[in-house]
């Protein structure tokens, strides 16, 4: 988190333990922090703006961006991803001021099909690195995480879920259904146990 360890513009991180670069289609600026380029080891997206980091967003070690060829991920301003696995084939949006804890998994696609024969074909494609086959197996359902959301450690957010502004997801929850604004949801499957009082000054994302 110190000044010297920030992105310098040459797509290589000065403080990196891994010998890699930040892919060209990652949009970031000098206010962002990324611990290691190892987080992009499974980055296959060919979109122009595959990953867009808002101002002051930070990606800490153990995070992994497992992005398919058509994936677009957006991380809002002041958001902190502290060792988060993002599995994306279409779109995952994280709002501003997000606090996402360690070992959280956000996925918009299960990737492996449920039928045994199709799953065999998928495993063969993965083992042979046949991207054209492995990316067509299941349909992605985009995930949207609103502004000011806090997700507790070891939680999983499943495909198609949207989490409302200001919500809290308890530690080790499995979020399989959408969560409304300012809800506190816990458990497996995650259920809303109570609601927070919304800030009175209008849209919390603009505070």
């Amino acid at each position: 988190m110190n000044g010297a360890s920030r992105y310098t513009g040459n797509r290589k991180l000065p403080h990196d333990w891994y010998d890699g670069v930040i892919p060209d289609n990652v949009v970031l600026d000098s206010t962002n922090h990324i611990d290691t380029s190892y987080s992009f080891q499974r980055f296959r997206s060919r979109m122009e703006r595959a990953l867009k980091l808002g101002r002051n967003a930070a990606i800490y070690s153990n995070s992994m961006f497992d992005l398919g060829p058509k994936a677009c991920v957006e991380v809002g301003a002041f958001s902190m991803l502290n060792g988060v696995a993002i599995i994306c084939d279409e779109a995952i949006h994280i709002g501003d001021y997000g606090l996402i804890s360690w070992n959280v998994v956000l996925m918009d696609n299960y990737r492996a099909p449920t039928s045994i024969l199709k799953r065999r074909a998928y495993i063969d494609a993965v083992l042979n690195n046949e991207s054209s086959v492995m990316d067509l197996q299941t349909l992605p359902r985009p995930v949207t995480i609103g502004a000011n959301v806090w997700i507790g450690h070891d939680s999983v957010v499943l495909p198609g879920v949207s989490i409302g502004t200001g919500s809290i997801i308890g530690a080790r929850s499995v979020v399989s259904d959408s969560i409304p604004d300012f809800g506190i949801a816990v458990g497996n499957p995650a259920r809303v146990i109570r609601y927070l009082e919304a800030p009175r000054t209008g849209d919390p994302a603009t505070l």
Partner: protein, 192 residues
């Protein structure tokens, strides 16, 4: 290196922080044990006699304090203490279990925004809003399985059995058997 190769007392990798007290025959091992150890207490971490902490991460804040009793066996778990975590005698804690005595972030949405700003890369030294902390107590003869989570303020009664993967948000009575997320009591008295 297998556990048999290690000496049966003391810390085996680098310098042991000065405010850690180890009882006779107790052992701490693992490269990440003190990676997030920031406590400034006189005795920040104490282990009783014959206790072992293999691969345990002691993430202890500046005012945090962890006390572990005699004959405990802790394996690859994470202890996050901003206040107090007290563990009794003959306690077993399994892999990947997380014990924390704080909320890490404030609950109120507006305060959480200022916490996110204080935690951002360029806000070095900016004061963070206070998060709620409540001490955690684990009694004697408690078994806590792998991949459990103990949240702030819980007390696990003597002889309780916590099954794998449980998330404990409320205190567990003595000799109870609990499981699930959120955890529920399956039987109240294991001694019967």
């Amino acid at each position: 290196m297998s556990s048999r190769d290690r000496p049966m007392a003391g810390w085996t990798d680098g310098d042991l922080p000065g405010n850690v007290s180890l009882g006779r025959g107790s052992c701490i091992s693992g490269p990440d044990a003190f990676k997030r150890f920031f406590s400034k207490c006189d005795v920040a971490l104490s282990l009783g006699d014959r206790s072992r902490a293999d691969g345990v991460k002691f993430a202890i804040g500046p005012q945090g304090h962890v006390a572990i009793g005699h004959d405990c066996y802790l394996n690859d778990c994470i202890l996050l203490a901003e206040q107090n975590i007290t563990i009794g005698n003959y306690v077993m804690i399994g892999w990947n279990t997380t014990v924390s005595d704080s909320d890490f972030h404030p609950i109120a949405p507006a305060e959480r925004i200022s916490d996110a700003i204080a935690l951002s890369p360029r806000a070095e030294g900016r004061a963070r809003p206070k998060a709620l902390c409540q001490s955690v107590f684990i009694g004697d003869n408690v078994f806590i399985g792998p991949a459990c989570t103990l949240l702030k303020g819980v007390t696990i009664g003597d002889g309780a059995y916590v099954e794998a993967g449980s998330v404990i948000a409320h205190s567990v009575p003595a000799n109870a058997h609990v499981r699930g997320n959120p955890a529920v009591i399956v039987s109240v008295d294991l001694t019967k």
